[in-house]
Amino acid sequence: MKNQFENRKLAIGGVLILLALIFIAKLFYLQIINTSYRLSAENNVIRYVPQFPARGLIFDRNGKLVVHNEAAYDLMVIPSQLSEFDTLDLCDILTIEKEDFLISLKTARAYSPYRPSTIIKQINPETYAKLQEKMYRFPGFYVHTRTLRKYSYNIASHLLGYVGEVSEKDIKKDPYYKLGDYIGKSGIEKSYETELRGKKGVKMYLVDVHNRIKGPYQSGRHDSDPIVGSNLTATFDADLQTYGEQLMQNKVGSIVAIEPATGEILSLVSAPSYKPSLLVGRIRSKNYLALARDTLKPLFNRALMASYPPGSTFKTINGLIGLQERTLYPSTTYGCTMGYHSRGLTVGCHSHRSPLNLPSAVQISCNAYFCNVFRNILDSGKYTDIHESFDSWRNYLISFGFGQKISLDLPNELKGFVPKSSYYDRYYGKKGWSSLTVISLAIGQGELGITPIQLANMTAAIANRGHYFSPHIMKEIAGGNDNKEMFIKKHNTAIDSINFIPIISGMEMAVNGQPGSGSTARIAKIDSIIVCGKTGTAQNPHGEDHSIFIAFAPKDNPKIAIAVFVENGGFGARYAAPIASLMIEKYLKGKTKRKWIEDYILKTDLIHGEQKK
C-alpha cells in the first residue's frame, strides 16, 4: 500500500538533517572558531563586578556644594573560589576579630557558595591601600568600590534625608536594586532617588586561580558603563539653614522659610536635629538606633509631621474670610472688656485700648474682636444653617493649603487636620452645636492641626496677596524636571487680593508700631526693612504654651515668608518672633546686627533648662 504522500518523508528528513547541520555549524563557531568565549584551562572564571555610579551632588540655591561623595570599599567573597589563606593575616590588615570574620564567612557560604557576599563593608582608603598590596594572597576575595555621602555643611538632615541599604520591599518593587545596594530613604535623597542614583553598569573580568584579574572579558564587549547620577540644586540657602539650626539649638520646634514668589523652601529646620554625617557608613546603624531611641525624637521631622493649633496667627485668616464674606469691613470696630463674653462663656483677652478696628485688632491681637468676626462669618444668615456656613469657612482654609499635603517633593509630610461640620455632628449631634461651640477656632485654638510648612505656606499666600506656589525643595536638576508644571502652578486662594490690605497693615503695625501702641511683636522689627508679622501662642496639653510667629518681608515685593514654632516657648513674641526676625535679617542682609537678641536666643536652653537651674 503505497501512500501518495510518501515522498514527503524526504522533505521532513531533509529538514531534520539541515537543522542538525545548522546546530553543529553554530556550535563549531561558538566552541572552536570564536576563541573569545573560551577560557583557558586553569579554571579561569568570569567575575561580574557591578559598577556603581557616583550619586548626584546636591548644591544649595547659591551653588554651594552641600553633599558630595567619597570612595569606600567593600570586601567581597565568593566562597567557592576560596583556597587556603592566612586568616589571621587578613584579620590583622582589616583590624577585625578572627571570630567575627569566621562567622561572616560562614554566613556567606550559607547564602551561596557561588554568589558574591559582602564580608566587610566600607573599608577606609588607608586600610584598602594596605589590603590591595596583599590581595594576591587571598583568592576568592575581591574589593568592590562604591561611594558614600559626604557633607561639606553638616546641616539640613531633615531636608536632605539619608541613604541606606535597600530593603526586601525595595528590591521587590524595583528589580534595579540588588541586595546590598543603596537607596535614598528620606528627604531629597528619597524624592529624587531615580535621578540622583544614576544607572549601574557592569564589568566582566577574567580572573585566574590566584585571584588576579587578567583583564576584561572579551575586551569589554559585554560591559556597560555606569551613568553618573544627576546633580541637583536645592532651593535652600546653606548659610540661612546653618543659622536657623544654630538658633534652634536646645529648643524643640521648627522653622520653615519660603520664597513667596516661587514656593521655594529657603530653609527648613526641625529641632532637635542631628548631623547628616551620623547616618553614613559603618556607624550608621549604631547611630540610627541611638537617634531612634532618643526621647526628643530627633528623627521626627516636625516641620512636616508635627501638627499644632496655630494660635493667634490664625486671626489673620479669619479676618480675611470675614472681609471676603462681607461680614467684616476694615473699619468695623468691636469693643473688648478683658475678653469675649457670650451666654456665660468667656474667651479671655489681655488689657488693651478699646474699641479697635481691624488693623489694630491684628496689631494688638485682640481675642474678643476675632470672636466677633468669626461668629459673624458663621451666623451671617447667608447660609441655611451652621453646617453650610462652617463648611464654607472650611473651604477658605482648604484654599490656603490646610488639611492637605502641600509640598511637591518632601516625603512623609502629614496632612494636618481641619474639621468638617460632620465632625462636630458626631460629638454634639446635628443640632447640638452652634458658632459659640466652636468659638476657639476664632483664635486658632481647638480642633485644628496645622503643620509648620502649612503655616509658612499661608504666610507666603498672604505675602503674595492671595496666591501661593506649592512649597518645594528642588530648584534645578540636570536632565530636567518631569513635572515642571506643578512647580510653576499658581494656586489662588478664595480671598480677593484687595482684602489683604487691612490684614497686612495690621501685621506691619504688629512689628513696627510705636512703643506703647500695643504692638505685639516689636522685637521682630528690623531697621530699614518693613517686616509684617503676627504672633501666636498655642495652648496645648503638654505644658507651657507654644511660641509661634509668622512673618514676611519686605512688605512690598516680599522675598521671604517664614513660620517659626518653639514648643513650650510661651508667648509668640518671646522666642518665635526674635528667631523669625533674625532669620529674615540674615537672609535679606546676609548678616545680623542685633547681637543681644542673637545671644539671648542662642543662650536659651528650653530642653535642659530645668536641670541647669
Partner: protein, 475 residues
C-alpha cells in the same frame, strides 16, 4: 497471548531502546554535574536532583516495561476516551491546580506533583492518529482538516490559559504530521511565507515593508507578463513620479523625507500606478497579485498588533534579543548570553566532567532543566555537543524509518506525532541555548531534569515501540 508477548520482545526495535537508555544515562550524569560542588559529592544523594532523577528513571523503566506488555490495539480503541479524559484534566488543572513558576499547570496530591499537559501530548498524538486513519479522511477535505486542527489545538489552547507558552507551541509541531498525511502544499508554502513576513515585520519599518511588498508584486507581475513594452512604460512612470516627488519634497516639505524613504515611496507609487494601468487593460493575474498584496500588507499590520498587544513584555524581549533588535546581556538576554559563554568556553574537547565553572547554577538559571545543554557544551566541548546532536539525529531518523515501515495508518501517524514532538523539543531547546531561537522554556527530551517530562517522553516513545513491535499483526 503468551506467544504474542514473546513476539513483542523479539520484534522490539532494540536500536531505539538503546538510544533511549544512552540518552537518559547521559542526562542524569549531566544533572549531577550541573549541581556539583564541593559539598555535594555523592551521586546517589536523594536530596539532590541527580538522585531524584535516578528515582524518576527507575519509575520510567518500569513504566516502559508495562507499556510493552499492554496490547497494542488498546491505544486504537481507547484513544477517544483518553483524549476526553485529558481534556477534562487540563480544564480541571486550571481550577484546582497549583501555580508553580507562574503557570497553573500542576496537580499536587500529597508528595506527588503531576503536570497533565506533559501527558496531553501523548494522547493528542493517539487521537490524531485515530482520526486521520479513519475511512475516507482526507486532509484536502476542508472539514476533515478543520477537525484535525481542533484535535491538535484544543489542548494547546487550554494549556495557553495556564499560561504555559512553551507547551502550547509544542502542538504546532504536529503540523508536520498533517504535512506527511497530505496537507495541501500551498498551505505549507503560505505558512512559511507568513513566518518569514512575521520576522521581517519585526525587523524593519512597516513603511519599508509595504513598499517592498508592492515592489515585489510589480516584479512578479512583470515576469509573468514578459513584455518589453510594459517594462518601458513602468520605467517612464517611475521617472516622472520620481521627479514630481523630488520637486514636492524640495519645495513643500523642506526635504524632511530622507533619500531612501523617498526612493521607496517613489517606487511603490509608480508600481501602484503601473498596476492600476494594467488593471484597466484587463491583464490576467492582476487580481490575484493584488489580493495577495493586500493580504500581505494586512498581515504586516496585524503582526504589529499581535506582537505589541498580545505577547507579554518578556516574550517580546526574548524575540527581539534573538532577532538582534535588542541587546540586553543582563536582562532578558542574560540566560542566552551566559549559556553561549558556557558552551563556548568548552572549546573543542571541554573542561572535563564535573570541571565546568560557568554552568554551575550561579550563572545560568534553570541549569539542570531547560539549559542542561550548556553543561554538556562546557564539560564535553564540541565533541560532546556534536555527539549529543548526532544521538538525537539518529533517534529521530530511526523514528522516521519506523513510522514509514508501519503497515497501518494509525501506527504511522502516531509514529510521526512522536517524531514531530521530539524534533520540536530538540530544535527549540538546543536552538535557544546557542541563541538561535527565542528562549522558550521546554525541556530537552531524556536529558533535562524532571519526572513528569521524563515519564511523558517515555510513554510517548514506548507506545510507539510497542505499536512497531506488533506491526506484523495488522495486515
Amino acid at each position: 497471548m503468551v506467544s504474542r508477548r514473546n513476539n513483542v520482545f523479539a520484534n522490539l526495535d532494540w536500536l531505539v531502546v538503546i538510544l533511549y537508555l544512552v540518552l537518559i544515562s547521559v542526562g542524569v550524569m549531566n544533572i549531577f554535574s550541573a549541581e556539583y560542588n564541593e559539598t555535594t559529592k555523592n551521586f546517589f544523594d536523594f536530596s539532590l536532583r541527580s538522585g531524584k532523577q535516578m528515582i524518576w528513571i527507575g519509575a520510567a523503566l518500569i513504566l516502559a516495561l508495562l507499556l510493552l506488555i499492554i496490547d497494542s490495539r488498546f491505544y486504537l480503541y481507547f484513544a477517544t476516551p483518553l483524549y476526553v479524559i485529558i481534556i477534562l484534566a487540563l480544564i480541571a488543572v486550571l481550577v484546582v491546580g497549583v501555580e508553580i513558576n507562574g503557570a497553573k499547570s500542576w496537580f499536587v496530591i500529597g508528595p506527588v506533583r503531576i503536570q497533565p499537559s506533559e501527558f496531553a501530548k501523548v494522547v493528542t498524538g493517539l487521537m490524531l492518529a485515530k482520526y486521520l486513519s479513519g475511512p475516507n479522511i482526507k486532509l484536502q477535505n476542508i472539514k476533515n482538516l478543520i477537525i484535525a486542527g481542533v484535535i491538535i489545538f484544543m489542548p494547546a489552547l487550554i494549556i495557553l490559559l495556564q499560561p504555559d507558552t512553551g507547551s502550547t507551541l509544542v502542538y504546532f509541531s504536529l503540523i508536520i504530521v498533517l504535512y506527511r498525511e497530505g496537507l495541501p502544499g500551498i498551505l505549507v508554502a503560505i505558512g512559511i511565507a507568513l513566518t518569514v513576513l512575521f520576522i521581517i515585520t519585526l525587523l524593519f519599518d512597516k513603511l519599508i515593508i509595504v513598499a517592498s511588498l508592492i515592489f515585489l508584486a510589480f516584479l512578479i507581475y512583470f515576469f509573468l507578463e514578459k513584455k518589453k513594452k510594459n517594462f518601458f512604460i513602468g520605467l517612464g512612470i517611475f521617472l516622472v513620479s520620481g521627479i514630481l516627488f523630488w520637486g514636492a519634497n524640495k519645495l513643500f516639505l523642506d526635504n524632511k523625507i530622507n533619500i531612501y524613504l523617498s526612493l521607496l515611496l517613489v517606487i511603490s507609487f509608480s508600481c501602484l500606478i503601473y498596476i492600476i494601468l494594467s488593471f484597466a487593460k484587463k491583464i490576467k493575474y492582476i487580481v490575484l497579485i493584488l489580493a495577495i498584496l493586500a493580504g500581505a500588507i494586512g498581515f504586516t499590520y496585524s503582526v504589529n498588533y499581535f506582537f505589541y498587544n498580545i505577547l507579554e513584555d518578556h516574550q517580546q524581549k526574548r524575540i527581539n534579543v534573538v532577532l538582534g533588535i535588542e541587546s540586553d546581556p543582563l536582562g532578558s538576554g542574560y540566560n542566552v548570553n551566559q549559556s553561549k559563554i558556557a558552551i563556548g568556553s568548552g572549546g573543542f574537547s571541554g573542561k572535563g566532567y564535573l570541571r565546568g565553572t560557568q554552568t554551575k547554577f550561579n550563572f545560568v538559571p534553570e541549569q539542570s532543566t531547560d539549559f542542561i545543554f550548556c553543561t554538556v557544551g562546557e564539560e564535553w566541548g564540541f565533541i560532546g555537543t556534536t555527539i549529543m546532536i548526532l544521538l538525537f539525529v539518529f533517534l529521530l531518523l530511526r523514528l522516521l524509518m519506523l513510522a514509514e515501515r508501519q503497515r497501518t495508518p494509525f501506527s504511522r501517524i502516531y509514529g510521526y506525532s512522536v517524531f514531530s514532538i521530539f524534533l520540536f523539543h530538540f530544535t527549540i531547546n538546543i536552538g535557544m541555548t546557542i541563541g538561535l531561537v527565542p528562549v522558550i522554556g521546554i525541556p530537552l527530551p531524556f536529558i533535562s531534569y524532571g519526572g513528569s517530562s521524563l515519564w511523558a517522553f517515555t510513554i510517548l516513545l514506548f507506545i510507539f515501540i510497542r505499536l512497531d513491535a506488533s506491526r506484523s499483526e495488522f495486515l
